[in-house]
């Protein structure tokens, strides 16, 4: 098999129809003008050419907004029986198609947190069960800045297959053994790509890069050091005043992954479940301990927490920034805060 293949648009629909027989298929769909990742039941529901990215990032498919960690039963003889839902999660084989490079990179970053020294069993099971078919971005929005975070418009890893729209065909790159298997089991749909097709792919990517360069934010190696020096800078107070602590930037961020854990009891008081739910470092309650102490009382400290937990702390911990330049936090911010403006100020641009 050649390194690069072609897949006609018509054949992509056939491939998706075949996936639907075997897998649960997730992809971008449009409802009431809002793009979101949903389970589809027909090829026609897919919206692969949407501008920008779905409102909620694909983390929701691997770390659901709310999920049951286990259920428990308390018996009369004081015994506690715990039921682990992992086996049920394992059964579901899934395909995620139409995810953009920025979001694909976001999953690679989440992997560092959830599949590190300690493995989060729910997350890793879903990751292993899900085939990733990424599509090169061809339509960035005014909020996008993946040129700064180096996570778009194309990508080198994190996918099983990568498709680039070059007109009549998708140019197909293989990112894993699993990707290779998909092609091998559907050889009738693919054909080999030529040097000319490769040149067309490169041209497509250059066109998107050209569009992105309009945000005038160039990648910088100095951000980490400059943030460390700026920790007590006056500039944070302005954003502390403007921020309304709604947490939307947290929830829509492809790499924000904080969660709360709590129990929900049935009225019988004999059965219950332990639940985890997305949480937001912008909330006052986020650092509250039982004695009543709140470690980040000021909004300024919470605004800073998120910025530093994107561009500074993860550099220590994981060796990379935790922002993919998707622009969701800019798009959804109630207070009109533009994270690119903060970055420019810190960098002195």
């Amino acid at each position: 098999m050649k390194k690069y293949m072609l897949l006609s648009k018509k054949n992509l629909s056939t491939l998706v129809e075949r996936f639907l027989k075997e897998f649960q298929v997730y992809g971008p769909t449009e409802k009431n003008g809002i793009i979101s990742f949903d389970i589809i039941s027909d090829w026609s529901e897919l919206k692969l050419d949407a501008s920008g990215v779905p409102l909620l990032p694909p983390k929701k498919i691997f770390l659901p907004p709310e999920e049951v960690l286990f259920t428990f039963k308390i018996s009369d003889d004081n015994n506690i029986e715990i039921e682990d839902p992992l086996d049920k999660i394992k059964e579901k084989k899934r395909v995620l198609i139409g995810i953009r490079p920025c979001d694909t990179h976001g999953l690679t970053l989440l992997d560092k947190v959830f599949i590190g020294k300690t493995v989060d069993p729910y997350y890793v099971t879903r990751r292993e069960n899900t085939i990733i078919i990424c599509i090169t971005c061809n339509n960035p929005t005014e909020y996008c800045f993946c040129n700064f975070t180096k996570s778009g418009p194309s990508i080198k890893e994190g996918f099983d297959l990568l498709l680039t729209d070059i007109g009549e065909f998708f140019f197909v790159e293989i990112g894993s053994e699993r990707g290779k298997d998909i092609i091998n089991s559907n050889l009738d749909l693919f054909q080999e790509a030529s040097e000319n097709d490769l040149a067309r792919r490169d041209q497509k990517i250059r066109e998107v890069e050209e569009k992105l360069s309009r945000n005038q934010l160039t990648s910088s190696n100095e951000l980490y050091q400059k943030l460390i020096r700026a920790f007590n800078d006056e500039l944070w107070n302005e954003y502390g005043r403007r921020c309304v602590a709604c947490g939307k930037c947290n929830f829509t961020c492809p790499t924000c992954h904080c969660f709360d854990v709590y129990d929900v009891m049935e009225l019988t008081l004999r059965e219950g479940k332990r639940v985890r739910k997305w949480d937001a470092c912008h909330f006052l309650s986020f650092t509250r301990v039982a004695g009543g102490e709140i470690f980040r009382k000021e909004r300024t400290s919470r605004v800073k927490q998120r910025i530093y937990d994107k561009y500074c702390y993860p550099v220590d911990e994981f060796g990379s920034i935790f922002c993919v330049g998707c622009g969701r936090c800019i798009h959804v911010c109630t207070a009109g805060i533009d994270i690119r403006e903060i970055l420019k100020k810190v960098l002195g641009m």
């Binding site: 682990d84 020294k117 099971t125 992954h257 709590y262 986020f286 530093y308 500074c312």
Partner: protein
């Protein structure tokens, strides 16, 4: 794959009332193998489940020399602790852990140790003190400074008496009563009563942030090097495994990098630790 979120079941085998709002719970794993595999260091913590009410982090207050059970000493301050206080001996709760780094006891060998505790902060220090007393010859002079709100709020009262054979113990209360003949004032007033040589002494403390802030200031004034001051820090450790994001102080997670840090380390956090 082991599911790190699923607790082991333990039985409450004994409950001791320390103060009106603090109890010590002796816990034994239902599964004998789980009990054997439960090895911990002084200063580590567990996540305790009271099923139906949730999970919360607690320091282990027993010494790891105890093989057949372990203990936590709990102050009733929140929902999980309130539910825990309603349970009886024989009831079952859940445990995950142990988590965190614990005290680096090998670094304390051949040194004087100054333990400084405030309120319920004596819980992890009790684990450490009893561990050190069972290996007494490895360490030099031992001193304890402990402060509580009132005489009624002093934890481990009987045990502190037994420590006095080996440890120079100094107590204080914020507010005395008719029975109290000892020192009155915040824990830092005890510095007047003790003599320490900062050159060969480590200071190990746990207590409210404000206490640790002022104690650290005093220690620095006395000439303690920043890397000889050990702090056990409290934050909201929800998952205990560095994923849920609640317990970071700037660049470090209290649950996996801590909860024990030197003062020197905390200065690099960016956010203020104490």
């Amino acid at each position: 794959m082991k599911n790190v979120y699923i607790p082991n079941i333990v039985t409450i085998s004994e409950i001791r009332e320390e103060t009106p709002d603090i109890k010590t719970f002796k816990l034994i794993f239902k599964d004998k193998e789980a009990q054997r595999n439960f090895n911990y260091k002084p200063g580590q913590f567990i996540e305790l489940s009271v099923f139906g009410y949730g999970e919360a982090p607690f320091s282990i207050s027993s010494s790891p020399n105890q093989q057949n059970f372990f203990e936590i000493t709990v102050k009733r301050v929140g929902d999980v602790t309130n539910a825990l206080f309603k349970l009886n001996e024989g009831n079952a709760v859940g445990v995950r852990g142990p988590f965190g780094n614990g005290f680096p006891t090998h670094k304390f060998e051949n040194k004087n140790i100054l333990f400084i505790g405030g309120g319920i902060g004596l819980a992890p220090l009790r684990s450490l003190i009893n561990f050190i007393l069972s290996n007494r010859e490895k360490y030099s002079e031992l001193t304890l400074m402990y402060g509580a709100r009132t005489p009624k709020d002093i934890v481990f009262k009987k045990e502190i008496e037994t420590w006095k054979k080996h440890v120079d113990v100094h107590l204080t209360v914020d507010v005395g009563d008719e029975t109290w003949k000892g020192t009155v004032g915040v824990v830092t007033v005890l510095f007047r009563e003790i003599e320490v040589n900062p050159k060969n002494t480590v200071a190990v403390m746990c207590g409210p942030p404000i206490m640790m802030h002022f104690v650290t200031k005093e220690l620095l004034k006395l000439g303690f090097p920043e890397d000889q001051i050990f702090l056990s820090l409290e934050r909201l450790m929800k998952c205990g495994i560095g994923i849920c994001g609640h317990c970071n102080i700037g660049r470090k997670y209290v649950c996996k990098h801590g909860p024990v840090f030197t003062y020197k380390e905390t200065k690099d956090f960016l956010e203020t630790a104490i």
